[in-house]
Every structure is written in structure tokens, then in C-alpha cells.
């Protein structure tokens, strides 16, 4: 989770990713941010988030995103 928070803060240092849970709904993260995040996650977690997982439910909070990563790690 630490690594993830680091990735996110790198992109948007002004956002508190521990509490924020409307990242997509409130347009805090845009489409470019998302693919940067996915790119980094692929690097650091060796997990590929494919396009079908790019839905608000998975990206609205750091926690939801981490859940996704864990699920994908499980499957791999």
C-alpha cells in the first residue's frame, strides 16, 4: 500500500490519498493520471491492469485501487 501511495503522491502531491475516495467522480485524477498510475503499477507490482478494470469503482480511492492490485496479483 505504501508503494501505491507513493506513486499517487508523486503525481498529485496536493491530494491526501489516504482519505480521498472520490478521485474519479470529483475529477481529481484524469485519464492521463490513470495511465501513468497503471504504468507505474505495472513497473512496481508487476501487475497489468487492463482497460476493462478502468472503472470508477476501482479508482475512486487508493484503497479500492490496492484491492484491485491484490486481486490481480492473486490471479497471476
Amino acid at each position: 500500500m505504501e508503494q501505491l501511495l507513493e506513486i499517487l503522491s508523486d503525481l498529485h502531491p496536493e491530494v491526501d490519498f489516504e482519505t480521498e475516495d472520490h478521485l474519479i467522480d470529483d475529477k481529481i485524477l484524469d485519464s492521463f493520471d490513470i495511465i501513468s498510475i497503471i504504468s507505474e503499477i505495472a513497473e512496481q507490482y508487476d501487475v497489468t491492469i487492463s482497460a476493462e478494470h478502468i472503472i470508477p469503482e476501482n479508482f475512486n480511492s487508493a484503497e479500492a485501487l490496492y484491492d484491485l492490485i491484490e486481486r490481480l496479483e492473486d490471479e497471476e
Binding site: 485519464s31 495511465i35 501513468s36 504504468s39 505495472a42 487492463s50 482497460a51 476493462e52 478502468i54
Partner: protein
């Protein structure tokens, strides 16, 4: 049928009446019939194209669903006795099957779209090359471009991708699916709906809800107001300015640019208002396509507010898949090691955006104008991305971010920027567009803006008065809309006030609409030259 024709209005009248007379369970069938009649009346032969796409996509959807159901059943049955590795392999092989169906469907239908829309464009480009080497040019093919093919194809392809991804279940009833693809209000200019968003209200049974029907009719009226009073009137002036570029350069081109910005907005959003209004009267919920786009403060925001369904379609079905696919991630990795971290991480963004904006451009039309327009947007977006740290520094230093003046500046800047890019819509070819844009800065004929020259392009002082009043009305409505639905607010007023407002709007359309003899834009051009 044009939205602004008597026949369409008569068509709607008959449809609305029948819709609430027949038993509710047959309503979707009536819509299907109406949609096919609508399409047939445009040109009977179009039906072949839409049927082919409908049948092929419906069939592919069912096949994918079958595989997915088999997979689900199998895994449920053998939950205990399969190990992880076998499960993974099984899923992979199933995925391959569904992938084949998806690929076949996409290639087939996008292939039809490509051939129908882009063959002659390709040939003309090949010819340019061939003629360079003194060869014989190919002849163009005589091919029909079915009404709305770009819209319904994308709507159907979105569906099949959603089925593949498991986001939607396939529609097994071919007639229901046919309605989804051909729903007539959306055929002409969208919005491009997602199956998940549309299907429930599209197939549901609807009882007559007076308020909903009234709101729908009000929205339709508002759409007609925008189209007939503002757009069609503005178009007369726009046509004069852009059809004679040699005569109307410099400040004229600037005026034309802004006039076109108004005309396109009124026409496009007006048409969408009619579309969504018609759907609302029928009890069908269609996604919004515009969200006060001219209030945007930068280009990114603009593309979240203008032609929303197109933008999100390209994002979900082209941008994301391309930018997170394995080859792209590999490329990104390599670029990082080869060209350094900062360049490397930009690669997926730049390359994917380039592809998206190239396809967005060409989706709009088979010409270099649209391609350059699309790439122009790409350049602006990339540049603003790069400038972000600079902007952040600026805002740290000067606390202007929330000041009204600064926001107004941002809004005006965005309008000017997007209007400039849209000049590619107006002129014959790319070099001419650049020339005309350049002339704004080199030809100092700004006096034409206030010395009455603009009264000689087909619009009278009264017309400008009406247009100005129209702009004020549009802006006011948009401002009010920020705090909630305008129709709801009017609905709360006493009956006679409401009736007066809507009847007044109707009279505006009836009296001031730029329709009928005497308003033929081409007529004016003919008279002038």
C-alpha cells in the same frame, strides 16, 4: 427526415400518440418500427448496412456470452478440484475464444465503416502520389455513406466490447438489439449511448407521466429555438464569410470564426436537445452530450463538456486499451531505459493520445482538414500538459486562481482556442485554413467589424439583434442551470407564468425562426453574386 421539417414533426406527433395508446409491453416494438421507418425514409438502401451491422454484432454477442456462461458454469462446478494453474489456463483459452469473436465483429463492422467512408479519401491520396510520379490516377468508387453510420457503428462496437469485458450481458432478442442500434433520435448525430446506460429504459414499459412528457416537449422546443432562431440565422452569415475566403479574410475570418462557434454550438446542442427531449417524451433516458462547454477554462475541461459521449467512447474503447496494452507497456519500459525516466513515462501518454486524436479527427470526416484538426487538438493538449508545472508555479506566486477576472480570461481563451481549431471545419483545405488564420494577424481590416460591412453578408441589424438576444438567453439559461434543472425551476412557478414562458418560446420559434421562403441561405448567396 431533417429534425426541422414538417414531416419529422408530423412523424413525432403520430408516434407520441400511438406510443401511449398501445399496450405498454409493445412500446419498444413500436420504437423499432418507427426507427426503421425513419431510416427507410432517408434512403431505403441504408437499411442493408444497418441490418448487417445489427445481425453480425448481435450474433457475436451471443457467442461471446455462450463462452462466458460455459466458463462460469464450469468453474462453479469444478471449484474444488481445480488448481490455480489449470484454472488460469482454462480462463485463458476461453478468453481467446471470446477474443476471436470480438475481433471478427470489430474488423467486420469497422471494416464496413472504413470502406464506406474512407475509400475515396484513400484513393484521392494515392492519386496525389501517383500523379507525382506521372502515373495514371485511380477512379473513385460510387459508394453510399449510410446516414449515421459513424454513430450506430460505434454504439454497436461499444456494446460488443462491453459484452467481451463482462460489463454487459448480451441481448439475446435480435429485435431488441436492433432497436438499440437503430434508435432513431440518436441516428443522426448521437449521443453515442452505452448499452448498460440505455437498455433498461429503452425496453421498459412506460406509463404516461404528464410531467415527464411535458419536460420532454419543453426540451424539444428549446432545441428548436436554438436551431431555428439562432443556428439557422447565424448560418446565413457564416456561409457568406467562409464560401468566399478571398473576399472575406482578416477581421472577416475572425468574425466568421466566432460566428461559426455560435452556429455550431446552437445547432449541435439544439439537435441533441431535440434528441434527448424526444427520448424523454418516450420515457427513454439518453445520456447528456454537452455540459455548458463554453464555460470551460481549459481544453481538457472542454473535451469533458463538448460531445461528451464521443470523448468517453474514445477514452474507454481506444485510449485506455491502447495505453495499457502489453506492447505499449513494453515500449514504455524500453523508452524509460533508453531515453530516461521523464521521457519514458511520457511515451504511452503521447503515443496513445496521438492515436486517439488522429482517429477522432478522421472519425469526424474523411479529409485532411479533420485529421489536422484532430492533431491540432492533440498538440494543444500535450502542450498544456507540459505547461502544467509552469502554471502551478504561476498560481503559487499570484493568487488569481479563484478570481472572477482570471476565470473569465480562461473561459475567453478557451473559446478563442477551440474556435481557431474549428476553422478547419470551414475552409476547403488545410493550406487555405492556415492562410485564413494567418490573415487575422496580418490583414489589418478591423474596421469592418464596426463600419457596417457585416450588414452586407446576409444579416440585417435586426438579425444581429435577435442573435445577441439569443446569446444572452443561452448564457442566462446556462448560468441558471449550474444550480439545477431550469425546467424544474420554471415548473415551480404559477401555471399562467409557466404557460406564458413556454408559449412565448414557441412564438419566438414560430415568428423568428429562420425558416421558409425568404430565409434560404443559398438564395442569398445566389442573389449577391
Amino acid at each position: 427526415m431533417l429534425f426541422t421539417s414538417y414531416s419529422f414533426m408530423g412523424f413525432l406527433l403520430v408516434l407520441f400518440c400511438l406510443y401511449y395508446i398501445i399496450p405498454a409491453k409493445h412500446q419498444w416494438k413500436l420504437l423499432l418500427l418507427a426507427s426503421y421507418i425513419f431510416y427507410f425514409l432517408a434512403k431505403p438502401i441504408y437499411l442493408i448496412y444497418i441490418l448487417v451491422t445489427t445481425v453480425s454484432t448481435w450474433f457475436a454477442g451471443i457467442q461471446i456470452d455462450k463462452v462466458q456462461n460455459t466458463q462460469k458454469a464450469y468453474l462453479a462446478e469444478h471449484k474444488a478440484d481445480l488448481d490455480k494453474e489449470t484454472k488460469k489456463q482454462y480462463k485463458a483459452s476461453m478468453k481467446k475464444k471470446t477474443w476471436h469473436w470480438l475481433l471478427a465483429c470489430l474488423l467486420f463492422n469497422l471494416g464496413i465503416l472504413a470502406v464506406v467512408k474512407y475509400t475515396n479519401f484513400t484513393i484521392s491520396n494515392i492519386n496525389s502520389l501517383v500523379q507525382l510520379f506521372g502515373g495514371k490516377p485511380l477512379s473513385f468508387i460510387n459508394i453510399i455513406v449510410p446516414l449515421g453510420i459513424s454513430f450506430y457503428t460505434f454504439q454497436a462496437m461499444g456494446y460488443i466490447i462491453d459484452v467481451y469485458r463482462g460489463t454487459s450481458k448480451a441481448q439475446t432478442n435480435p429485435f431488441r438489439f436492433a432497436l438499440f442500434v437503430s434508435f432513431f433520435p440518436q441516428l443522426v448525430q448521437g449521443p453515442i449511448s452505452r448499452y448498460g446506460d440505455l437498455h433498461e429504459s429503452l425496453f421498459a414499459e412506460h406509463s404516461f407521466d404528464g410531467k415527464n412528457v411535458a419536460f420532454g416537449l419543453q426540451r424539444i422546443l428549446w432545441g428548436y429555438f436554438k436551431k431555428m432562431v439562432i443556428a439557422d440565422r447565424m448560418l446565413i452569415g457564416v456561409n457568406t464569410l467562409i464560401q468566399n475566403p478571398d473576399r472575406y479574410s482578416g477581421a472577416y475570418a475572425f468574425a466568421g470564426m466566432l460566428f461559426y462557434a455560435l452556429e455550431l454550438y446552437a445547432d449541435f446542442t439544439g439537435g441533441i436537445d431535440i434528441t434527448i427531449g424526444v427520448a424523454q417524451v418516450l420515457g427513454v433516458k439518453v445520456t447528456e452530450n454537452f455540459n455548458r462547454p463554453y464555460f470551460s477554462k481549459n481544453i481538457k475541461e472542454y473535451w469533458n463538456r463538448w460531445h461528451i459521449t464521443m470523448g468517453s467512447w474514445f477514452t474507454d474503447y481506444i485510449f485506455y486499451p491502447i495505453s495499457v496494452c502489453k506492447p505499449m507497456l513494453k515500449l514504455s519500459k524500453h523508452s524509460r531505459s533508453l531515453l530516461g525516466e521523464s521521457i519514458g513515462k511520457r511515451v504511452p501518454i503521447y503515443l496513445s493520445s496521438f492515436i486517439v486524436w488522429f482517429t477522432t479527427g478522421i472519425w469526424h470526416g474523411a479529409s485532411w482538414n479533420f485529421i489536422v484538426w484532430g492533431l491540432g487538438n492533440w498538440v494543444v493538449i500535450m502542450v498544456s500538459q507540459e505547461l502544467e508545472p509552469l502554471y502551478a508555479k504561476f498560481h503559487n506566486r499570484f493568487a488569481v486562481k479563484d478570481k472572477f477576472g482570471f476565470r473569465l480570461f480562461q473561459v475567453i481563451r478557451t473559446i478563442l482556442l477551440m474556435s481557431s481549431l474549428r476553422m478547419f471545419d470551414c475552409y476547403r483545405d488545410v493550406p487555405l485554413t492556415f492562410r485564413m488564420f494567418g490573415s487575422i494577424f496580418t490583414k489589418f481590416n478591423w474596421n469592418v467589424l464596426w463600419d457596417g460591412s457585416l450588414l452586407n453578408i446576409g444579416l440585417s441589424a435586426l438579425d444581429y439583434g435577435i442573435l445577441s438576444a439569443g446569446v444572452v438567453l443561452l448564457t442566462t439559461v446556462s448560468l441558471v442551470q449550474r444550480t439545477g434543472s431550469v425546467r424544474e425551476k420554471i415548473h415551480k412557478k404559477p401555471y399562467w407564468l409557466r404557460a406564458a414562458v413556454w408559449y412565448g418560446l414557441f412564438l419566438c420559434v414560430l415568428l423568428m425562426g429562420a425558416y421558409g421562403i425568404g430565409y434560404d441561405a443559398s438564395q442569398f448567396i445566389y442573389n449577391q453574386f
